[in-house]
Each structure stands twice: as structure tokens, then as C-alpha cells.
Symmetry: C2
Subunit: 202 residues, 2 copies
């Protein structure tokens, strides 16, 4: 369908929104027309936040998580166990694990997983800085918490090779059936893993 916009300013705004993932031109138009119904100050505020977004947001020098300062709130928290490092793919995963309230260690954000299909190799990820961190000492355990996919497994394997000579304890998050699901709906691979990796009851 050809879309002829009645205004260049409108078209520019639609162009910008439709470049976001999962947002097509029709949704983008709906978002822009919604913004036009909002007070000018609010829309300007939105614009300001985006204009300064890349300069306002910094990354923790230790764990590479998004941060407001040079060292993030988790790395600088003395109550966290700095001897346990949980390796995750991205910021969302840190937030997901934090929400479980089950983890008191620190993190290392890789920034992705090895994925030759998408042109992402080990050098695009924060793997060398993880190895340096472990070699610097003070770390007892590295927990691999990447997605249980082909890419995640490949990355786990690569990291385990790089850390092999450091002698650090290496573990991977448990794979099994999801809590709350009926067993009959679990996929065969997860169910198989949950039997092989069974743990002592109480």
C-alpha cells in the first residue's frame, strides 16, 4: 500500500518510529498521532530523553551492565558476594534474575551470545574481560546463565575452554521442567534433562 503522508514532519516522525523493532509504519503512525494529542511539554520531554540517551547511559566498568556511574549499584554493593559471578547475555537477564530474589552474587554481562548467523563472534562479546576478571583473583565460582539454545550452549562451551586453566569452579543453571507447568506439556528435551539431572529429594 502506498502511504502518502500529508506532512513531511509527520513522515519523519513515522520513519523514526518504524525503525524500532516490531513497529511497522501503521503502528508508527498511530504512535505519532497519539503524541500529537499530548501536551507539547510532554512530547518535548520525550524528545529530550532520547537526545541525551546515549550520553546519559553508561556501562559498569566491571560487569558491563547498564549503570548511571562507572561502577554499577550491584558491583559496588558490599552486601553482594563478589566471589560469585553470574554470566548473562544482557541487561534484561540481570533484571530477571534480580527479580527472583534468589541470587546475592554479582554479574557479568556478555552483550549477546556467539551467533555466526548474525555475525557475532567471541570478539564482539565481553568474554576476554570475563577471563581477565577471573584471572585477577577473588572469584570462586562462575555461573553460566545463558539461554538454553544452540547459541547459548556454544557460548557456554567457548567460555569453559577459556576459563579451563584458571581452576575457577564453573556451573550452569539447572535445566528441567518449568515450575507450575503440567508435566505432559513439557518438551521432551527438558523432561529428559530433568530426569538425568535429578537432585536428591529434600
Amino acid at each position: 500500500m502506498t502511504q502518502e503522508y500529508p506532512s513531511r514532519a509527520l513522515e519523519r516522525a513515522v520513519d523514526e518510529f518504524s525503525q524500532l523493532p516490531g513497529i511497522g509504519r501503521k503502528t508508527a503512525l498511530r504512535l505519532v498521532l497519539h503524541l500529537l494529542t499530548r501536551p507539547e511539554q510532554q512530547v518535548q520531554g520525550f524528545g529530550q530523553v532520547l537526545t541525551t540517551l546515549k550520553t546519559d547511559i553508561r556501562y559498569c566498568q566491571t560487569c558491563h551492565n547498564i549503570s548511571d556511574s562507572e561502577v554499577c549499584g550491584i558491583c559496588s554493593n558490599p552486601k553482594r558476594d563478589a566471589g560469585t559471578v553470574c554470566v548473562v547475555e544482557n541487561v534484561q537477564d540481570v533484571m530477571a534474575i534480580e527479580n527472583t530474589m534468589q541470587y546475592r552474587g554479582v554479574y557479568h554481562v556478555l552483550g549477546g551470545v556467539i551467533s555466526p548467523m548474525n555475525g557475532i563472534g567471541p570478539s564482539n562479546l565481553q568474554i576476554t574481560s570475563l577471563v581477565d576478571r577471573v584471572k585477577a583473583g577473588g572469584i570462586n565460582e562462575v555461573i553460566l546463565a545463558l539461554s538454553p539454545t544452540m547459541e547459548g550452549d556454544t557460548t557456554n562451551f567457548f567460555i569453559s575452554k577459556r576459563l579451563a586453566d584458571t581452576g575457577v569452579k564453573l556451573s550452569v543453571i539447572a535445566r528441567g521442567v518449568a515450575v507450575g507447568n503440567n508435566l505432559e506439556y513439557a518438551d521432551e528435551v527438558s523432561l529428559g534433562r530433568s530426569i538425568v539431572d535429578r537432585t536428591p529429594f529434600v
Copy 2:
């Protein structure tokens, strides 16, 4: 679920995106993290477009469509039939009808339909300016092209009452479009037919 963002700047950006219709906090976070992977100049450009959005976009003084100038491209086009006015709800509807290539008249954008549930009365819409436009003369026919919903029908009825003493020919788009759907989602063939097959109102 509690969401604790690792950075205030990140949270501010997520707040802004999640105020858009149909975008929750999880999607908003995904959009912001996507923006962080883009070059700084692009993200700044996006911010600039939003900052000046409300001042850049103007509305046609005649038909109230979005425009870059005081009179929009359709109203100022001498090839369009200024004696036929198509009354629509919003900008998307103008674009949808333009895309059918079946209409050579001009428009009148109401800015909505009468909807007491949402607190939208006749005074919130460009109805008086439509009546003034018809009374000023030079208009032979007014085509009502509102969504075939309860609110659309109510608005059609209200406009027909207000225009009753002007003697202008009043027609309504054929109900070739499925009743209950919003106009902007109608397919082009049905929408085109509904304009060609317009019938006298009442």
C-alpha cells in the same frame, strides 16, 4: 513483578516509551535497549524529531488535516473538486481514502466522533467549522465517511441535523465496509466501492 532498573536514565526512557498506546514496560525496555545499539547520531536525530514534533506539525485552516503549511496540499490543489467535501474522523482516514484513488474532492477532518463514553461531545469536534464552511457557499455535496459504528452513526445524525437548513446534498459512504470495524483497517477495494456507491442520507 517488581522491575528495578540499573540506571535512572534507562528508567526515564522506558517510562516515556511505555506511555505510548499498546506499549508495555517490557516492550519499552526492549525498544530502549535497541536504541542503545544504534549510533548516537541516529538516536539524537530521533530525539530532535520528537522535540520539534508539536511545533513542526500544523493543521490545515480549511479542512483541519495535518499539514506543513496553513492550507494543506489537498485543499490548495486546483485539480481537486472543492465542491465535494468528505467528512472523516482523522488523518489516517484521509490517507486511507487517498490510497483508494477513487476520490477527487476535498476533506473535512472532524478530529474524532461523538462519544459520550470518552467525554467527546460535538463541541470537541470540528463540526461548527464544517457548518460554517457549507454556509459560506460553493459546496454541492457533503459525504459522510465516518466509521460504521454507533459513534459514527450518532455523529452522522448530528451533522445531518446541523446541515439540514443549508440545502446541501448529503450522502453517506455505502456500507460495503464491514459494520463494526474501524475505517482505517478497511481494505482498499471495499473502501473504494463504498465511496463510489454512496447513497443519499435518510
